[in-house]
């Protein structure tokens, strides 16, 4: 059988036009959804989650319909990630892919539909976390960015910038030691988990610094008092939401 010489496919025609899976595969799609997507980024111990939860409460008190989505929380995928981490079977490549699968599920299941419905969607960590971690693990920078090509571009991406030592002090005050992948122990940087964490996170910080101009991240000085950071965050969010006419209010 010759290829390209009118190979018969059978008597059937595709009768239903294939729906593109949302027209989402645009590079960081500049979607015009009524909702607004706001994300926070930063290394562990930067205080980003604290800031996001304060923002969440404030937006709710203002009457906005707010939904929160956390990194690595897809009900369909997180068991697989947990299994891979527990058994230490993740390589840089599968670590990257399983996290993108989790993110895809949250995008398809909640982020996209909610933005269409006019919600304010808050994400604790977004694609930038993957870019920073995966590249720090040795994945190709372009490949990882392509991988997340289906992601919705956020209205604001806050980056909570903090010196490594400050973050480590905050973390070690609250607990003793780091988990295997969190400390980048899979990279054999050091046998000591704190030392490994330090080396791995400094690579991640370097990646974040590169991404500030690349993606226009909004930098917040995370060494400032919590209240000061929060008022900066609210001010920036306010200017974005004031122009958003189509947002839904909470019932």
């Amino acid at each position: 059988m010759e290829i390209g010489s009118g190979v018969r496919i059978g008597p059937f025609e595709v009768f239903a036009p294939l729906q593109p899976a949302v027209s989402m595969i645009r590079q960081y799609g500049e979607h015009n959804f009524p909702g607004r997507l706001i994300v926070v980024e930063g290394i562990d111990g930067s205080g980003k989650s604290t800031q996001l939860s304060l923002l969440h409460k404030w937006l709710e008190s203002k009457g906005y319909g707010v939904v929160f989505s956390e990194w690595n929380s897809s009900p369909l995928v997180k068991d697989t990630t947990k299994h891979g981490k527990k058994k230490k079977m993740l390589t840089p490549a599968t670590f990257s892919l399983i996290h993108s699968t989790d993110f895809a599920d949250r995008t398809e299941r909640s982020i996209l539909p909610l933005l269409k419905a006019g919600a304010v969607v808050l994400c604790d960590r977004y694609v930038y976390t993957a870019f920073a971690r995966d590249v720090a693990r040795g994945m190709d920078c372009k490949w990882v960015r392509e991988l997340y090509g289906f992601a919705v571009k956020p209205a604001i991406a806050f980056y909570f910038r903090v010196p490594l030592e400050t973050a480590i002090h905050r973390l070690l005050d609250a607990r003793d030691g780091f988990k295997f992948y969190e400390a980048g122990m899979d990279l054999d940087l050091s046998d000591d988990s704190v030392e490994s964490f330090r080396m791995f996170q400094s690579r991640i910080l370097a990646e974040y610094e590169k991404m500030i101009p690349e993606f226009g991240l909004t930098v917040i000085d995370a060494t400032l008092p919590i209240e000061v950071q929060q008022s900066q965050v609210r001010q920036i969010v306010k200017t974005h939401l004031d122009h958003a006419q189509e947002l839904r209010e909470r019932p």
Binding site: G4, A21, V77, L90
Partner: protein, 287 residues
């Protein structure tokens, strides 16, 4: 030396992958697994160590995919990436180590099926190709081709329609038959499109299994002979190089070489046997 379709994964060495990667592709019901079940014992009888692998068999993601497919809420992007995770886990922990140990890897489907399924589901072809650019280029890709008119009776009168094989996630509201025809036709179009791009060896899958198998055996033998000639030349070359650099006494004292060291030409015969886990599947140690 072996190559990937794009940049290789971090830590993946490509210079000593001496085995052979043989891909059996084709739509659902084209007889891929039947052929692999015939080819494996035949190759082993010829003295080749064989590993067979296929979709969702990864220890990492296989179970997760099966669970996700039982529900009604597996999105298309998620599905595509879940399968990519499964593939890369097998690539790194099963396929590459087996090739390094000189095995023949028979794989039931490869990236082509995965890309076809994703593209038919509306994924951007450029996007999905970029993800799978980390895959190794196989030594041979046999595409078992069967038109829908021949495919239908095989499916209907053996195992019956399956939700996913019928692409029911794509055509809600249609019955399994209509959906199956549309979905498989779309897949065939995509396979045919990829056929020249990726150099498929087109195999007419309509004759009986034995005839198809004879055809495959002939092609595989050619592939193996071609490389054994190469490795014969490599051995000659290696020997003569040693003649020139070593003293006569050293040559006579040197042990008889049974295999060609990793070099420009891969050795044909497997030298190392990875431990078997007792299930007939060969286990490789994870890092």
């Amino acid at each position: 030396m072996r190559a990937t379709y794009g940049k290789p994964l971090p830590g993946m060495r490509l210079d000593d992958l001496g085995g052979k990667l043989v891909v059996i592709e084709g739509t659902d019901g084209a007889g891929r697994s039947t052929q692999i079940n015939l080819l494996k014992p035949w190759l082993e009888e010829l003295g080749h160590a064989v590993v067979d692998t296929g979709m969702t068999r990864s220890p990492l993601a296989g179970e997760g995919i099966r669970r996700a497919k039982e529900g009604n809420n597996l999105g298309r992007v998620t599905q595509s990436l879940f399968y990519a995770t499964d593939f890369v886990d097998r690539l790194e922990n099963e396929i590459v180590p087996a090739l390094r140990a000189g095995f023949i890897v028979l794989t039931d489907r490869y990236i082509y099926s995965l890309m076809a399924r994703a593209i038919v589901r509306g994924m951007n072809p450029h996007w999905i190709r970029s993800i799978y650019s980390v895959a190794l280029k196989p030594d041979a890709i046999f595409y078992l081709r069967l038109g829908i008119d021949q495919l239908l009776p095989r499916v209907v009168f053996t195992r019956g329609f399956d939700y996913w094989e019928s692409g029911m996630d794509l055509y809600p509201g249609h019955d399994m038959y209509d959906s199956f025809c549309s979905y498989q036709a779309a897949l065939l179009t995509e396979f045919d499109r990829m056929s020249s791009e990726f150099n498929f060896e087109m195999v007419d899958a309509s004759p009986d299994a034995k005839t198809v198998c004879e055809h495959l055996k002939k092609n595989i033998l050619q592939l193996l002979e071609r490389d054994s000639r190469k490795s014969f030349v490599a051995r000659l070359y290696a020997d003569s190089a040693r003649d020139l650099t070593a003293g006569f006494d050293k040559i006579t004292a040197a042990p008889v070489r049974t295999s060609v060291p990793p070099g420009p030409f891969p050795a044909l015969t497997p030298v190392v046997s990875p431990a078997s886990n007792g299930n007939g599947h060969h286990a490789f140690h994870r890092k």
